[in-house]
Symmetry: C2
Subunit: 365 residues, 2 copies
């Protein structure tokens, strides 16, 4: 029961009978939660002991859209924060078909054999549309999914990229508190999610395939600029020469970019996920990067910048939510929008009026 | 005096002696504005008569960061709105060196010879850093700058892309009310500004150069997907064959994109701005697009979507500004940021606390 994907899976869980029911005001919610729940302190105790079942349940609370669950989740996160931050956080991206799952399985086993504890998370905001995430699905990572030192969790499937990213970031905190010293955050190489992942990891790894001269197609330009390492998969058999050529192409392309803020020059390596070849040099590269950036202070600097970034992201999200759910705003928004569409008022005047309504409403409460 | 670039240029303007001074509370402001000012109604009257001097002054108010100027500007915009919206709005982008200025000069003259009135605006948020915009500078458009039916205005040089874009969008409204039936919005092809321009124009034109096999380099992937037309410059002399090859390459590349929402399939044409060759087909293409999208309803739909987009952009800008300038927020923001950096609270809890401070502060006013 490491990996509950929805609330129904809760039902079979054994819980401490001595713990009181979660107080709820919503009768619908009350009916659905037909079980006893841990207290926040019990959650934290379980997490700090490395109890995977409790960690899973806490992550489910983090991912929940329900207010009551969020209250508990935030209490757990706050208590876990002092124990967090000590892992190596690695973002892994690549276009579909590049072999991400096989690679993560092989990389993970390599790290676990070195005595590491690995959490594999994912960000895939499209997972809501496709009803269930394809990323981080443990069935795609055969070896890892049998390892007790691996925790695999699919992408939270709720809504906006911002929301999904926040949940993943908070899950990192819980995993770190539970003793995971390495965290992978996987994403598909299709756009905005890379920026979100980049803003929560220490090292950003881009998986590429040796193709047929089109190596630079298929990835967004910005993603290559984010990469701290580019690794070319399927460098095996007849494909080795092609992979080496692709590596040379990428090295040339990287020279066109301005130097990275970290002072690190991104490396390009070839490997084979399927045949388990060239894996060690990849993790030597990651270790080298960590040592390098810890020594020059960039590691600490980046972590701080990321924390600030997420704080302001959260503020702006909360701000928009408070505004658009304000009753005075909700009441007038459509009408004002219609006035703008009819060219009766400018968008700026519309914004000012909505803002005045909002401020009036709050100050009269 | 079509084109005052800063307030000093105001000084020489003749104004109606009968008009009272602008009431101001700021003594510094009072000292600087040593001149009589039109009333909003006089501004609107002048604009509707097509008075370029008055239009220029109104645009300067739109671009001003001063509260008093913004008040007047918004009143003018609101009164002009019923007369706006009737122009053909065209976004023009291309990497530096693609020949944007020469092309705009030639395109503009072509349109003016057809009896059109043309406003050339620009968006270049970098212009603040470089102290003065390089875009929309009339000295770069020799023929156009001598035409009474052309109004050339450089990029507003104030601050964020959002702010610059809003000002340009409001300037479009004033230009349309002044009778300009064609509006160019120029931008450098370097990133975010294209999205802003795309969200305020009807047709998005991408200027490219026939290069040396690297045609697809240099432009951001997303920009090509926005283009309704791609035009290859310098198709003259020895370069004609190269330009045709580049056009073929772009046509192939466009086939890789999903079909556009408009139902329009982007065209690729070659021309020479310098030798004034192939200009008419470009504007036939634009006319064809306008007729096509007006017929299938996309033109109207897109204008409405754009108006909504700008309304929500304005709301979110205003919201952030109100929040971050709130005294209670300003007082605690650094401390809270430090708590997040020290891992004492999560970014989400920080956001919630700041939000509570903000709401408390407003409701106690």
């Amino acid at each position: 029961m490491e990996h509950p994907e929805n609330e129904d899976q809760y039902k079979g869980l054994k819980v401490n009978k001595g713990v009181a029911d979660v107080p709820t005001v919503n009768p619908y919610l009350k009916r659905r939660i037909q079980r006893r729940q841990y207290t926040p302190a019990e959650f934290v105790e379980g997490i700090l002991k490395g109890n995977i079942t409790i960690l899973s349940q806490a992550v489910t609370l983090v991912e929940s859209a329900k207010y009551e669950h969020q209250q508990v989740a935030q209490e757990i996160i706050e208590k876990c924060l002092p124990y967090a931050g000590k892992s190596m956080r690695i973002g892994i991206t690549g276009v579909p078909g590049a072999g991400k799952s096989t690679s993560i399985d092989v990389f993970g086993m390599h790290l676990i054999q070195q005595g590491k504890k690995l959490a594999v998370l994912a960000i895939d905001p499209s997972s809501e549309r496709s009803k269930g995430s394809i990323l981080g699905d443990k069935t795609r990572m055969e070896a890892l999914s049998r390892e007790k030192n691996a925790f695999i969790r699919p992408s939270p499937s709720a809504g906006s990229l911002g929301g999904v990213a926040r949940k993943t970031r908070e899950t990192i905190i819980l995993c770190e508190a539970a003793g995971f010293d390495t965290v992978f955050v996987e994403t598909v190489g299709v756009g905005q999610s890379e920026t979100a992942v980049h803003s929560m990891v220490d090292f950003f790894l881009l998986i590429q395939l040796a193709g047929t001269g089109d190596e630079l197609q298929g990835i967004k330009r910005g993603i290559m600029e984010m990469a701290d390492g580019i690794i070319i998969n399927k460098a095996d058999g007849d494909n080795i020469e092609k992979a080496n050529m692709a590596a040379a192409q990428f090295r040339n392309a990287l020279h066109l970019f301005p130097p990275a803020e970290s002072g690190w020059f991104p490396k390009v390596l070839t490997y084979s996920g399927y045949y388990n070849l060239g894996i060690k040099p990849i993790w030597d590269m990651v270790d080298e990067y960590m040592a390098f950036t810890k020594q020059n202070g960039y590691f600490e600097y980046k972590r701080n910048e990321q924390a600030k970034y997420w704080m302001y992201e959260s503020i702006n999200d909360t701000l928009r939510e408070t505004f658009y759910h304000n009753p005075a705003v909700e009441k007038m928004l459509n009408f004002t929008e219609q006035q703008v569409l009819n060219n009766e008022i400018s968008s700026f005047v519309a914004a000012k009026r909505m803002m005045d309504l909002f401020l009036d409403n709050i100050s009269n409460q």
